[in-house]
């Protein structure tokens, strides 16, 4: 028997678990092999060391700590009441899937809304006459009566973008935003010349009239007023305005109307629409909620 086989039997040899023949062979080898002898001594010492290890005493309060832990767990019962013990990863995965589904459903709706909002922005500012433009209108009106007030046509690009998404964007906007946008959708100003005898009285009546018809004065330059007015009320407003002129001199009220103005104005008043080349590009939706810009020129008799 070689050294390796003898050393493989050390445990059994020390436990007296070898059969007599094997035990004899191992003993014979050990008497002749000092290496295996030394090895056996070390092995025996290791096993004796192991057997010399005593049990460690359990720390004090071991059981009471277990009871305390059990009580703590009882207090957390709402969590353990969950009938299904799902792994956290599984729950997280389901949550992610729902989140993704939710987002993929939401985003396609939101993107057009965002685009609509972006597109509608330029249309808000484009048709609004700037202060400079208004001044220009006023100056030219003063200079000559049969003028064509130049108005910057809305940018074709911005107008063309309005039509597809504008209704949706409009619905989403708060009422205050709609109010702000109302003049923006206005048509070019109508011009009304009114002969008056009592300026102060006419002015106060004009204000009252505008207020009644939901309009307001935007700018005033001497006897020239630029007012905005809902289109629907324009005819009625115009009729009542004509009565503000000198009594019995309704015919003196001059309403200039160029060929392009399509307003059907009763009472023989003339009107002129300052329409531009860009008008045909204004969408039907914009026309539906039109406000009119009305330029009122008071001519003292």
């Amino acid at each position: 028997m070689d050294c390796e086989k003898v050393r493989d039997r050390f445990s059994s040899f020390l436990e007296d678990a070898l059969d007599p023949l094997e035990e004899k062979v191992v003993k014979e080898h050990l008497t002749s092999c000092s290496d295996c002898q030394k090895n056996l001594q070390q092995f025996d010492k290791t096993v004796r060391w192991l057997h010399s290890l005593k049990d460690v005493e359990v720390p004090d309060g071991f059981l009471s700590e277990i009871n305390r832990k059990m009580e703590e767990r009882k207090r957390k019962v709402p969590f353990s009441l969950f009938p299904l013990k799902l792994p956290v990863q599984a729950v997280a995965m389901v949550a992610i899937v729902f989140l993704v589904l939710y987002l993929t459903k939401i985003i396609p709706i939101e993107i057009p809304h965002q685009k609509a909002a972006e597109h509608s922005k330029p249309s808000v500012s484009a048709p609004l006459p700037s202060k400079k433009e208004v001044d220009q209108v006023v100056a030219q009106t003063e200079a000559r009566k049969d003028i064509v007030v130049p108005q910057t046509p809305p940018e074709p690009s911005s107008l063309s973008k309005v039509s597809p998404a504008a209704p949706e964007a409009e619905e989403m906007k708060p009422t205050w935003a709609k109010k702000e946008e109302a003049p923006a959708a206005a048509k070019p100003p109508q011009e009304i010349t009114l002969r008056i005898s009592d300026r102060e009285r006419t002015l106060s009546l004009l204000h009252e009239l505008l207020q009644r018809f939901g309009g307001k004065i935007i700018t005033q330059e001497g006897n020239i007023f630029l007012a905005s007015l809902p289109k629907a009320t324009f005819s009625e407003f115009e009729r009542e305005l004509s009565e503000l002129g000198s009594p019995g001199k309704a015919d003196k009220m001059m309403l200039k109307k160029d060929g392009m103005g399509k307003l059907d104005v009763p009472g023989g008043a003339e009107q002129r629409a300052f329409e531009t080349k860009g008008k045909e590009r204004v969408t039907p939706q914009a026309e539906m909620k039109d406000y009119l810009l009305v330029q009122i020129l008071l001519l003292p008799e």
Partner: protein, 196 residues
């Protein structure tokens, strides 16, 4: 478990029914064994205490599912070993055992002492020396493979029979013996380097 007397069947049945007194009786009966297995496998008293308590909490939770034909002792040891394996992995991931070198000072109840190991059988009455040897062997155990450490702890420290170990590891007795022998030889080589 090992040579400890078995706890009565009726106590286990009462514990299955949820009786706290029966559970406490089981804890008191097995706490030393469970705690010492955990301590020898993990090498840390605090970890061993915490783990042993977790073992008994697991026992209380799952004893109702224990089949009658399964011996309670084997079942409890299996739970203990499973907890030890999980805790060992957890601590190893956190490099808990990195500083556990046999060259370092020995931790004793009286503080750290320089390592000077001699054969404890030379002067077994020196209590300090015995403590140091115990710590030394403990650290040697921690350098073994996990399965080898379990075998030595169960057989040489807790005196389980080969048959019981065979049932726990689902191995034939002969295989248990040869594996245990290999573990002892490896431990001998580990300790040999540091003994003069």
């Amino acid at each position: 478990m090992g040579l400890s007397p078995k706890i009565g069947k009726e106590v286990i049945e009462c514990c299955k029914a949820g009786e706290r007194e029966a559970f406490e009786a089981i804890v008191l009966h097995y706490q030393k064994k469970v705690f010492n297995i955990a301590y020898r496998i993990l090498g840390n008293l605090e970890e061993a205490k915490d783990l042993a308590q977790e073992v008994f909490l697991s026992v209380f939770d799952s004893i109702k599912d224990l089949r009658e034909e399964v011996k309670f002792d084997v079942w409890l040891t299996q739970i203990t070993l499973n907890h030890c394996r999980n805790r060992w992995k957890y601590l190893k991931r956190r490099h808990y055992f990195n500083s556990d070198s046999l060259d370092g000072p020995v931790e004793t109840e009286d503080g750290n002492m320089p390592r000077q190991i001699s054969d404890p059988s030379d002067d077994p009455e020196t209590s300090c020396e015995k403590k140091m040897v115990q710590q030394f062997i403990q650290k040697g155990l921690l350098q073994l493979r996990e399965d080898q450490r379990e075998l030595i702890v169960l057989r040489d420290l807790q005196e389980y029979s080969y048959e019981e170990i065979g049932k726990l590891f689902h191995l034939p007795e002969g295989t248990v013996k040869s594996k245990l022998h290999r573990a002892r030889m490896d431990l001998k080589e580990i300790l040999e380097k540091y003994v003069h």
